[in-house]
């Protein structure tokens, strides 16, 4: 019989993917509150703070509580009236009353009493409240989730993605360590907590096992998605908070929440290797995972088409060839750096930036070589035999024009 899981916050960044993955594994899912858009799961009307109808738990074995009321944080802060505090306990009691054996609470790696942001303090307070429940042991587990990336650009991943589009960024907390983990890995970890025997711990850390500084993480995001570098300028925390306040008052400027800034400034890593291993997760290298994200793919496809066009000397209309080259470039670490923007747009410009020595080790030369390999699998181009001499002359002349630029470029990059 398939296991039935109850999920709150199912329309969120993590929730939507989790429901999808749970159902792929053959679990039945009932949603409390709003269902993921476009999904046909059973949704039971519910709001945080209410006790759900008992029928919602019928036949279920575990509850995952992902929902979080941000408005209540703003309104009440860490005061006991915060709906997240009371609501979680009501939900947990209801689940227990319905005879469920597992309650998984989605917490955060910033959950600690001394957290700078309200979010971390509240999550910690909820964890503590759940811990002292008389039936807590072996039934309640708090999943402390790290910095989640991947999948659709929502929640804080949307913000990170937006930041990664910028060539330069003044930022706070650049030296704080974060623990990035892919959305799919988080979902698998949460599912493991619900479906498998308990680990015997009240709090389990589902976060990247190798902490990286926030600055390094932003650079990784930018490099993987856009193939470019990022200039980061450290900003003192006070200045950043003043900026947040200012952003609220200025029209046409996106508002930046103090909460986010404080969350970053207070980030500190938690050891996660044991928990991740116990959950049976093997974490992907974020760089590799990110290079499969949609913007990264789109960029590669555009570059692939440009390289093929340059090498073949004509527009290549075979989508198969373009995709094959993009695939080869994606798995080739030497081609992580993006082409100059203008060269993607006007491939003929590649002649001016091509490395002088045609060694296939260099990034661009390597990609051009791959492109040439793909181009020769295409049907042969008709060439006028009579004009061979003219064609050679034209090419030699163009080379002569381009050569000084390439020399200058080599001198600049050396």
């Amino acid at each position: 019989m398939p296991q039935r899981l109850v999920v709150t916050g199912a329309s969120g960044y993590i929730g939507a993917r989790l429901v999808e993955r749970a159902r792929q594994r053959g679990c039945e899912v009932a949603v409390l509150g709003s269902a993921p858009p476009g999904s046909d799961v059973t949704a039971v009307p519910w709001r945080l703070g209410e006790a759900p109808r008992l029928t919602a738990f019928l036949g279920a074995s575990a509850v995952l509580h992902l929902a979080h009321d941000w408005a209540s944080d703003r309104l009440h802060g860490t005061a006991p009236e915060n709906a997240n505090l009371t609501g979680t306990q009501i939900l947990a009691d209801a689940a227990r009353g319905a005879g469920l054996s597992r309650f998984v609470f989605a917490s955060t790696t910033s959950a600690r009493p001394e957290a700078l942001n309200a979010y971390g303090q509240i999550k910690y307070a909820i964890e503590e409240r759940l811990r002292v429940l008389p039936w807590s042991e072996g039934r309640i587990v708090c999943a402390r989730i790290g910095l989640v990336y991947g999948g659709p650009e929502r929640a804080q991943y949307a913000l990170m993605s937006k930041l990664a589009t910028l060539p330069a960024l003044p930022m706070i907390g650049l030296d704080r360590e974060v623990q990035p983990i892919h959305l799919d890995e988080v979902c698998d970890g949460l599912l493991a907590l619900m479906l498998h025997p308990p680990l015997g711990r009240h709090a389990v850390v589902i976060a990247g096992t190798r902490p990286v500084t926030f600055g390094a993480w932003l650079r990784t995001l930018r490099r993987a998605r856009h193939g470019r570098r990022m200039l980061l300028v450290p900003v003192p925390i006070r200045l950043a908070l003043a900026g947040c306040d200012l952003s609220k008052r200025l029209p046409f400027v996106p508002t930046v929440e103090r909460e986010r800034v404080l969350g970053l400034a207070g980030a500190a890593p938690m050891p996660s290797a044991d928990d991740v291993a116990a959950l049976g997760l093997s974490l992907r290298d974020p760089m590799r995972a990110l290079r499969q994200s949609r913007p990264a793919r789109r960029r590669l496809i555009a570059e692939s088409a440009a390289l093929l066009r340059y090498v073949a000397g004509r527009r290549v209309r075979s989508p198969g060839a373009i995709i094959r080259l993009a695939r080869a470039m994606r798995r080739d670490p030497a081609s992580a750096r993006a082409l100059p923007w203008a060269a993607t747009r006007w491939p003929a410009l590649l002649r001016f930036v091509e490395p002088i020595r045609p060694a296939v080790q260099h990034g661009l030369a390597r990609r051009l070589h791959l492109a040439a390999m793909v181009a020769e699998t295409l049907p042969a181009q008709r060439r006028w035999r009579a004009t061979w001499c003219l064609r050679v002359t034209v090419q030699v002349a163009l080379e002569a024009v381009a050569l000084p630029f390439r020399f200058v470029l080599r001198a600049l990059t050396a």
Binding site: A328, L350, V360, M373, T377
Partner: protein
């Protein structure tokens, strides 16, 4: 635990393995052959499938030197070999194949015999190999010519088939040569390839479709898998899909321990895993630390431009194996010559050439296409005595493991001078034949030629030497029948000789009680 099901276990299903196995099987000996793997054939499908591989395994940057090594088939075979206990190599390309048919799946198919002059330093004469040469040539199917200047050099086998037509560029060079011999010490003639031009058992003749490099669907080019089909007709032959990991002396014979952990027992072993593959297997039997030599043929590729062909048409029919073969005597000493082959570029991938041209990609590709009808490539092979590669065996860091193997590539001190002289003389000859050597001539990294040998030389008295029948002095009952047992590597292509030598040893073992 032991498996006494065979009189002889043959390790390796390449040209040497099958050549040694055939006389044994024909004589009624029970033979078990083991080889490294399944038969994944990728020659079918759309062009990109054949050229890049279904999983794009061949869409990786290569050094652009040898188009032969960049095909999906080559990457799979060589990759599988490398995947197992890699051989450390410096200035050397450690080529070995793990898979049914071995390197014959990607070879250049040039075949020629060694004469007495070439066999100096061997405990054999051409007479000892005569019967085997004939048998192998008759079996694998060879096309070539008996009436040009190279015929005697390549050997007079009776069973030659008609050569395929020459490509236009090669024909232009050959015509000039036939009209006026440019140098008394230089000879040029039709290449001799293991390419059939008449149908035979389970194989179709060459249909001149130019796709040779990417695998011949018709089986026109010899490939040891064709002989495996022949061997499988015999009830006393068995082929097993396991890789040998270790050889252990046991019960007056040998146990082959496979990577799966099972044992195969036989009174005698025939090791034909390819020179470096055999080295891997035999190294643990030679003691913990040892320095050996390995010979290769230093090889140079020279692009030639035949101006008379500029503006001509690139042929749309033909083959991309060698068109012509040549020889240039270096001195009056017997056996002191360089030899090589001339290829046309139709059917070869332009990117491999464009990568080596001192131009941008676009210009290089366009110019290559414009010049292609007039281009030919000459490969020049130098005798193995000019190679000075060393193989070092070191005890492994982990106990009970095979020793670590390190190959270091080098050439003899006099080689630069020899190469320069040969290159200059050949350049003069090319010009007289109406061809201009283009800049961009290059020596391949040692080992790229895959003409390896001299590791366990026949006739050498040292423990790592072998007797006339490839039997290792340090390991009686173990016969090396591949390139590793050749005492010298001449400038000629050695595959046919390796096969003939394996056949000879096979015949000898068949007669043993």
């Amino acid at each position: 635990m032991s498996d006494p099901a065979a009189d002889i276990v043959v390790i390796g299903s390449g040209p040497a393995g099958v050549s040694a196995a055939l006389p044994l099987v024909e004589a009624g000996r029970r033979v078990v052959m083991i080889d490294g793997g399944r038969n994944r054939d990728a020659s079918a499908g759309s062009p990109w499938h054949r050229m890049l591989g279904a999983h794009l395994e061949a869409l990786r940057p290569d050094d652009g030197l040898s188009p032969k090594l960049r095909t999906p088939e080559a990457r799979r075979l060589l990759g599988a070999f490398h995947g197992r206990e890699p051989i450390e190599a410096e200035d050397f390309l450690a080529i070995g194949a793990l898979g049914r048919g071995g390197l014959s799946r990607i070879w250049g198919a040039f075949v020629c015999e060694l004469q007495d002059d070439d066999l100096q330093g061997w405990p054999l004469t051409a007479y000892d190999l005569r019967q085997s040469y004939d048998a192998v040539v008759a079996r694998i199917g060879v096309s070539g010519s008996h009436d040009d200047d190279m015929a005697a050099f390549y050997g007079y086998s009776d069973a030659l088939q008609m050569p395929p037509p020459l490509g236009p560029t090669a024909a232009a060079i050959f015509k000039r040569y036939s009209a006026a011999r440019p140098d008394p010490e230089f000879a040029l003639g039709r290449a001799r390839n293991a390419l059939i031009t008449e149908n035979r058992w389970q194989r179709q003749s060459c249909d001149l479709r130019l796709g040779c490099l990417w695998g011949c669907e018709r089986g026109a080019i010899y490939d040891a898998r064709q002989d495996i089909a022949l061997l499988r007709q015999y009830a006393n032959f068995e082929l097993r899909d396991v890789t040998a990991r270790r050889l252990v002396r046991a019960d007056g014979g040998w146990d082959v321990i496979t990577t799966r952990g099972d044992r195969l027992h036989a009174p005698r072993l025939v090791v034909a895993a390819g020179t470096l593959g055999s080295l891997r297997l035999v190294a643990p039997l030679l003691g913990p630390a040892l320095e050996l030599r390995v010979l290769n043929s230093p090889v140079m590729a020279v692009p030639l431009l035949v101006p008379g062909r500029l503006g001509g048409k690139l042929p749309d029919a033909g083959h991309s194996l060698a068109q012509l073969g040549f020889r240039l005597a270096c001195s009056t000493k017997p056996g002191d010559y360089v030899s090589g082959a001339i290829y046309e570029v139709a059917g070869l991938p332009p990117s491999s050439f464009a990568a080596r041209m001192p131009l941008g990609r676009r210009a290089a590709t366009e110019i290559f296409h414009a010049l292609a009808p007039a281009l030919a490539i000459a490969t020049v092979y130098f005798p193995g005595r000019y190679s000075a590669n060393t193989v070092t065996l070191r005890p492994s860091a982990q106990a009970d493991q095979a020793p670590d193997i390190e190959v270091r590539g080098a050439v003899a001190p006099e080689f630069d001078e020899v190469a320069r002289t040969a290159r200059e003389r050949l350049a003069r000859i090319w010009r007289r034949l109406g061809a201009r050597p283009l800049p961009g001539a290059a020596f391949a990294t040692a080992g790229t030629d895959a003409h390896l040998g001299g590791l366990f030389p026949m006739g050498l008295a040292a423990p790592h030497g072998t007797n006339n029948y490839g039997e290792l002095h340090a390991a009686p009952g173990l016969h090396l029948v591949d390139g590793s047992a050749l005492p010298t590597i001449p400038s000629k292509f050695t595959t046919l000789t390796i096969m003939a030598n394996a056949d000879r040893i096979g015949r000898y073992l068949a007669e043993l009680a």
